[in-house]
Every structure is written in C-alpha cells, then in structure tokens.
C-alpha cells in the first residue's frame, strides 16, 4: 500500500475524505512518526496537551475578553482585501507558512481571513520601514514576486505546484535570495516582506484558542489569575504535557531552522509588528 493509499483509506475510515477535496489533498502533506515512518493522521487537536480546552474555561473570563475571543472563533471575517485569483494564491501561501494538514478540516484555523482582515481595515503596526511600501501594496507586490519565482524555477504557476515545490519557492524569500522578480524586490525589502508575511500568519494562528490548546497556553486569565508559578506546573484546569514523537513531512523545506540573512542578532532585520518585551 502506498502512502497515498494508506492516507486515503485512513481518511475514509475517519470519515474526513470527500471527493471535492481531491485537488486540495493533492498538495497536503502530513507529519510522520519518526519510528515507524508512517504518516500521522490528522487530529482535531495536535500538540501535547490532549483534552486541554481553553474555551471550556470561558465562564471564568471577564466579559470583554470573552466577547473578543468568541467573536474571533465564531464570526470569522469574510475575505475582502484579496480578490479573484489572489484568494486561492494566498491560501496556498498561507498553507505553507502555517501548514494545518495535521488538523482535521473542521478544526483548521482561518488564518487567511485574519491576514485579509488586517489589510482590509488597514490595521497597521504604527510604522513602516523606509524600505517598504504600505502593507497592502507589499502583499500585492509579494504575490507577483512569488509567481515570478515559481515561473522561473518550475515554469508553472505557483498555484499549480505541489506543496513541496511551493515551499521551495517561498524558502528563497526566507533565505533572502529570490531567483526572479528583481523589479519587485527593488521596490521592497525581501527580508521585511518575508517577516511581514510570516508574522501576519503566525499572529492569526496563535491568536486562536485552538492554537492555545495545541501549545498548552493558559489563555485569558482575568479575573481568576494563576496560582502555580514555578516549575512549569499546570493550574488545576490546565493539562499536563503528554509528548509524542512527530516529524514534519519528509524533506519539507520549512522543517529546517536556518537563520535569516544577516544571521540572528542583526538589528537591521527586525520583524515589523514586533511585540513589546522589557
């Protein structure tokens, strides 16, 4: 049985397989068990905190916070900034930046909708790097740049590439060495566009309570607060960690940790939208 067949059989058994998903499925890649080499079936909740559910604690949150978080979960904003072909294109990009193939379809976080929302309502971070156009223009230029790289590397449209190839295209931006689209990269910094893209996707994903469940984050904590501060102990309503071994899909270009151009510790390539610290 091939990997593909196995997956299909498993998805049928799980009831998650539908025929109209075939086109999407073609590009999906699943994490693997490093010991057996088998693909791991999508789960409703990946991560090491099985059964942990921040939303189950919502009665203990203050109302203002509860409204904001529930709104995020239940009132997903429509796509309004991206139009036409940009939508499937950006969906493919976002699926590479924050892959969710390991999540069952009903538990995937609508990352693109929140990336789109920010651009649509022009919620900027309070500054723009001199080397960058406005965020909206940056995304539109970025789409053209990514397409140019895809054509250059594979002579095909980005949207028609397999996941691995798409990741390979995007990796050239991560590395700061796009092999095509010079006219685009003259108009904006590759580093800063890359960081803008990744941070927007990361913010959309890790703002969602399902992502908190995945990573074991306590979520909103007012007015109850925390009692167990030391030694990483969970509160009574938090979960103990239960680890399992998994590896990203084989040869996934995004599974390697490679420093950005300039290396780490370079003040010239800080991320836009940087959070506060000290």
């Amino acid at each position: 049985m091939s990997v593909e067949d196995r997956r299909e059989a498993r998805e049928k058994a799980n009831g998650t397989f539908t025929s109209e998903d075939q086109e999407t499925r073609r590009r999906e890649t699943l994490p693997v068990d490093p010991y057996t080499g088998e693909e791991l079936a999508p789960r409703p909740q990946p991560g090491y905190y099985p059964g942990y559910d921040t939303l189950s604690q919502q009665a203990y949150w203050d109302e203002a916070t509860r409204n904001v978080v529930l709104d995020r979960v239940h009132n997903v904003p429509p796509i309004r900034f991206f139009t036409g072909d940009e939508i499937p294109f950006m969906q493919a990009v976002v699926d590479c930046i924050i892959p969710q193939d390991d999540r069952t379809k009903d538990k995937r976080i609508p990352v693109l909708n929140y990336v789109d929302r920010r651009l649509y309502i022009n919620e900027i971070d309070g500054y723009r790097f001199e080397s960058m156009p406005p965020d909206q223009e940056a995304f539109r230029l970025g789409i053209r740049g990514i397409e140019a790289i895809a054509q250059h590397m594979y002579q095909r449209r980005f949207i028609d590439l397999g996941r691995h190839e798409q990741e390979t295209v995007l990796k050239t931006l991560h590395d700061g060495k796009p092999p095509a689209g010079d006219d685009i990269w003259k108009r904006m910094s590759v580093h800063h566009f890359w960081m803008l893209l990744v941070q927007d996707c990361a913010e959309a994903y890790y703002a969602h309570p399902w992502a908190w469940d995945e990573i074991g984050f306590g979520g909103p904590a007012y007015p109850r607060g925390y009692m167990r501060l030391e030694h990483g102990q969970p509160e009574p309503w938090e979960a103990e960690e239960v680890r399992y071994a998994w590896e990203p899909p084989r040869d996934s270009p995004s599974s390697e940790y490679e420093p950005l151009i300039g290396g780490t510790g370079d003040h010239s390539v800080q991320t836009p939208g940087q959070s506060g610290t000290h």
Binding site: Y60, A64, E130, A207, G216, Y226, G273, T277
Partner: protein, 599 residues
C-alpha cells in the same frame, strides 16, 4: 458562579468609569469652556503627563491634559488577550529607517490616557549616579545638567507613589531598598536566578517593579496572569491612568481624550499662546493656555515641535540649536531564549520578575564604555512566534513544531545602553496622517561602541541562560524603550530644554517626558521619566505663573512637595526623608512631609 474578590465575570452594569476592578472616577470631570484660557496645557497624558497633570491640579492650577487616544475604562475596554490589545499602542503611521531601524508601535509607543505606562512591563530600576556624567567619565555621550542627588528624592517619592515592589536591599548604583515587598517568582525568574548564581553574578528577584504585591489603596494585588504588556486589567501594575489621573480629576483637571494636538501656536511676543487640536469628530479646535508642557514622548514630542514651525520659528519650536529630534536613543533589547527539558510556562507571573545590573558600569577591561542589564521577559505565544521567526528563521512546519514546545522556553531580556548620537533622530516625513499632519520619520543606526557592547552583553546573557540549564539558546535582535530627541542641558546651543524642562527658546514652553534624557543607562526609563515629571512640577509650583517670565531667573532647588502625592500613599512620601528635608513654607498650606496632606 460566585463573584471573585476582585473583578467580575460579567461586565460592569453601571455608568461609572472604571480604572481596574475597584477604582472608579467618582467625581464628574471639570470641563473648561470654549475660549477659556487655562494655566497649563499638557500634550500627552502618559508617564510624565499623568504625574504633571496630577501635581499641577492639586496645586490649584487650571490644567488640561490632551491625549490623542482614549480615556480607557479598563473593565470594558481592555482584554486579557494578546491579539485583542492592539489598540493600546500608537498605531498611526510613522516611517522608520537608517542602517538599523527602530521598530515602533507595540514595542515602545502607547496611545491613550496612561500612554506607554499602560503597556510597559513595569521594571523600575533607578539610573545609577554614573549615568549623569557619562561624557565626563568616558569622553562619549553626554552629561546631564543635574546629578543623581538632584533626582534621588524624586526617585524615592515616586517609588512610594507608584508604588514599587522590590527587594529590601538593592545592591547596584546607589544601593537602596524598597518599602513594598517583592513578588513571588515564576519559571523565567527562577532560571535567571539559577543561571546567575552558577556564574557568581549577583541577582535580585521579585522587583523592582511597578506592581503592587499587596493591595494598595483602591488597587488590588497582582494575580500573576502575565498580561502586563496588554494593559493590567487588575490595576495592580501602575500606569498613570490608575495612579495619578484619578487624583488629577478629583482636583479639577480636565482630560481631553481622543484629541490630537496638531501644533503649538505662537504669539507675537515670542510666547506660546496655546494649541490647535483635532477633537473627537476631527474638527479643528483651539485651546489657549498660559504655558504648554509637551509630554508626547520621544517621537511625538519632536514631531509636534517640528510641525509647529511658523514665522520666526522656521525650523520648528525650541529648535534654535537645531537639536530637536536629535540624539534619539533606544536600548538594545535583544531577547535571549533558552529551551529547557522541563516545562517553564513563561506566560505566568509578571514578565518583569528578576534582574541583574552587575554589568551596568564601564569596565576598563572591556573594549567599550558603559554596560547592560539582564532581565526577565515573558513573551506570550504571538510574541514568541515572532521571536522564533527571527531567532531561528522558523516558519511552516518548523514553526508549528517549535511552538508546541512554547511551554519549555524561557526568555531573558538583554538591556544594553546605546549612547546618544547626533545622527539618530526624528524628523518629518512626506507622508501625512489622518489629520493631514506630516508623520515622524525616524532614522537610527548603531555605532562602534554600541555594537561591541551588544556583542559582549548578548554573549554574557546567553551564557547565563546556558548556566541555568537550557539545552538550546538562541537570540533575537531588537530594541527596547525610546528616549531623547529634545535633550536637556545647560547650553542652549547644544540642548533643547533646561534642567527643569523649560525650552531655552520659549519661556512658556516646556518639554517633560523621556525625550529630555541626555543619556539612558541600561535601566528601564519609566521611573526616571515619572521622577523628572514630579521634579518639573515642583519647579513650576514653586514659581507659580511667574515661571513664564523670562526675566525672572531662578537659582537653587525648588522645595520638594511630598504633600502633593495622590491620596492613599503610605506616609505621604518616604518617612525616612523627613529628618533632612526642611519644612516647606511655600504652597498650599505649607504641609510638612509625611503630614496628613490635602483631602
């Protein structure tokens, strides 16, 4: 569900304006009428503006504090959520450039009453005595026109008013102790203590931090939920919004929120006459005042002075020296992240939880001057994801996998002194904001001493993280805080304001905020900014409205007005100062320090 002691699970169903779960603005706020001239307009009700507003109102002046952002009702407006707190920051456009540009917004810029103190972590170390003579000592940077001794009583005063919780003995700079006890520590502070101890580096824990350990007047104690940077809904962490603004309103001050000051207007006699601002409905309005205090922080203060250029002041106000906007500073704030085998859960406890200033001073054995501090920080998931994007180049599957280990990471904040350089500056860009005003253009780059200091300090911080037991240690380059841009000095040719914050050029124009700092040390600037505000207030109160008269020169030191602290302050100032402070005969009632004070 039973109501908790502090706060509630449901929104408050009353008409009151809530500042934390216990405190309300009880008195109706006074509103000055249209066309009415006031004594002082303060532009920006942040760390400095909040203190000034409270002091001047208590002393009986007619004063309005303008803020471009909202007057928060913390129970209704703030959330215990990272992504939902975006509105706390200055999100209007600025342009940032230079060889190593500064990030702004969430990292260092507040908007709304309370300003940056709403989202600071709350570390409140004092500057060291050496900070005030950096140029004399090292040949680099600048000297202050005042000494540590000038500011010390105000440090002590603000530590009581904020109040600062911290260790009984704090060994660095001018060694001192804190009146209010330290906080319990979380996993990150635990790691810093362990790492420092292994390497023989002295370290303190549980403060100094602007967070109440026990309940304080009408502010509850800390609940250790870790959302300090998202605005403290608890009201335990100080912002001037909860510590000083209520008292200001009680004493007749007006807070004019959601009002963006566009320019300071000048009269024919070389005095400022008031401000032009955009009200909540974006209508242009004027407010006349006998004196103006600009407290807009290091970007907006220079921007306002430059945007106020007019006939006779073509280069902007208070800028005959050409120094407005120059010598802008940030501290190197690299975050050093370590992965531990055992869980840490760094989202618990205040991010500002332990620190060492052992490397603060110039060490002649190193190839750079000045130094750095190592502090705890506590990034929440989104902040951590962004750090990992930068520190490890993480994205895609790698980012997802790494984030599943969020609970295994601890983070230290390196805090390195960057010296003031003339080419690091705030100017005006061609772009305009929603009011049609030119936005700030910030240019920043590192110099040789800065680079050497960062290299050494980051390596040392990584060493501490390893010594704490981290199996993997990485770092993200970043800056923290903002100061400078309208520096104080004795020489009008090389500075913008004098040692009390009065501009050299315009007698009734003051600047009082982080922008007047000539150097910054490697201490978080919040406490120093508030201390300087209290000092400027004492100067103004002592001189009364004759302060606007250029011909009346002032020599000496204004009396310290312990009696003007907000109600509910323990001892109304540090009791131990009582013996060496003369009984003041000036001001309202001439109250002794530590006395009952005004009601």
């Amino acid at each position: 569900m039973k109501k908790p002691l502090f706060g509630a699970f449901t929104a408050p169903h009353d008409d009151a304006h809530h500042l934390g779960p216990m405190q309300k603005v009880e008195t109706p706020m006074h509103h000055f009428g249209p066309g009415e001239e006031v004594d002082f307009v303060i532009v920006g009700v942040g760390s400095a503006g909040g203190v000034l507003l409270q002091r001047l109102a208590r002393a009986g002046f007619r004063v309005i504090g303008f803020d471009a952002g909202p007057f928060w009702d913390t129970e209704r407006d703030w959330v215990s959520d990272e992504s939902g707190s975006h509105k706390l920051y200055w999100n209007d456009l600025r342009i940032t450039g230079g060889s190593e540009p500064i990030t702004l917004g969430e990292n260092n810029s507040g908007k709304g009453v309370g300003g940056g103190s709403v989202h600071w972590a709350g570390f409140t170390p004092r500057f060291h005595p050496s900070d005030f003579s950096v140029y004399t000592d090292t040949g680099l940077g600048a000297d202050w026109p005042i000494s540590y001794e000038d500011l010390k009583p105000y440090y002590e005063m603000m530590e009581t008013e904020i109040p600062v919780s911290g260790p009984a003995y704090y060994p660095w700079g001018d060694p001192h102790g804190y009146m209010y006890g330290s906080h319990p520590i979380g996993g990150v502070a635990s790691a810093l203590i362990k790492g420092c101890t292994k390497l023989g580096i002295p370290v303190v824990a549980g403060g100094p931090v602007a967070i109440t350990a026990g309940s304080f007047d009408n502010r509850p104690h800390c609940i250790y939920r870790g959302f300090c940077l998202q605005g403290c809904k608890v009201g335990a962490k100080q912002s001037t919004l909860v510590s000083h603004v209520p008292d200001a309103i009680r004493h007749g001050a007006e807070v004019r929120a959601n009002c963006m000051v566009a320019r300071i207007n000048m009269g024919k006699d070389g005095h400022a006459t008031g401000v032009t601002y955009f009200d909540e409905q974006m209508h242009e309005q004027e407010q006349r005042a006998k004196a103006i205090i600009v407290s807009g922080y290091a970007i907006e203060t220079p921007r306002l002075l430059l945007n106020s250029a007019c006939t006779g002041f073509e280069q902007g106000l208070a800028n005959s020296s050409g120094m407005v906007g120059k010598y802008l500073m940030v501290q190197a704030g690299n975050v050093i992240l370590g992965r531990f085998d055992e869980p840490v859960r760094m989202y618990k406890a205040p991010p500002a939880n332990a620190l060492t200033e052992e490397f603060y001073e110039t060490d002649p054995h190193r190839d750079f001057v000045r130094g750095f501090a190592i502090q705890t920080v506590g990034p929440l998931p989104i902040a951590f994801a962004k750090q990992m994007m930068s520190a490890k180049g993480a994205w895609g599957w790698g980012l997802r996998q790494l984030m599943m280990d969020y609970n295994h990471w601890a983070a230290f904040g390196f805090l390195g002194e960057i010296l003031p350089w003339e080419d690091n500056r705030v100017g005006l860009a061609e772009e305009k904001d929603q009011y049609g005003l030119p936005v700030a253009k910030v240019t920043f780059g590192l110099h040789d001493n800065d680079r050497k200091l960062i290299k050494f300090g980051v390596a040392k911080t990584m060493e501490v993280m390893s010594a704490a037991g981290a199996e993997e240690v990485v770092q993200e380059a970043r800056y923290a805080h903002l100061v400078g841009g309208a520096r104080m000095g004795n020489d009008p040719r090389t500075s913008v304001v004098d040692k009390f914050g009065r501009s050299h050029d315009i007698p009734n124009l003051f600047v009082c905020d982080g922008s007047i700092l000539p150097t910054q040390g490697s201490a978080n600037p919040g406490l120093t900014i508030q201390a300087l505000a209290a000092r400027t207030a004492d100067y103004i109160i002592d001189r009364g409205m004759s302060v606007v008269d250029r011909s009346k020169t002032f020599v000496g030191v204004p009396p310290i007005r312990y009696d003007l602290a907000p109600a509910g302050i323990a001892g109304r100032g540090m009791p131990r100062i009582k013996s060496r402070t003369p009984r003041t005969k000036i001001g309202l009632g001439g109250l002794a320090p530590g006395g009952a004070g005004l009601k």
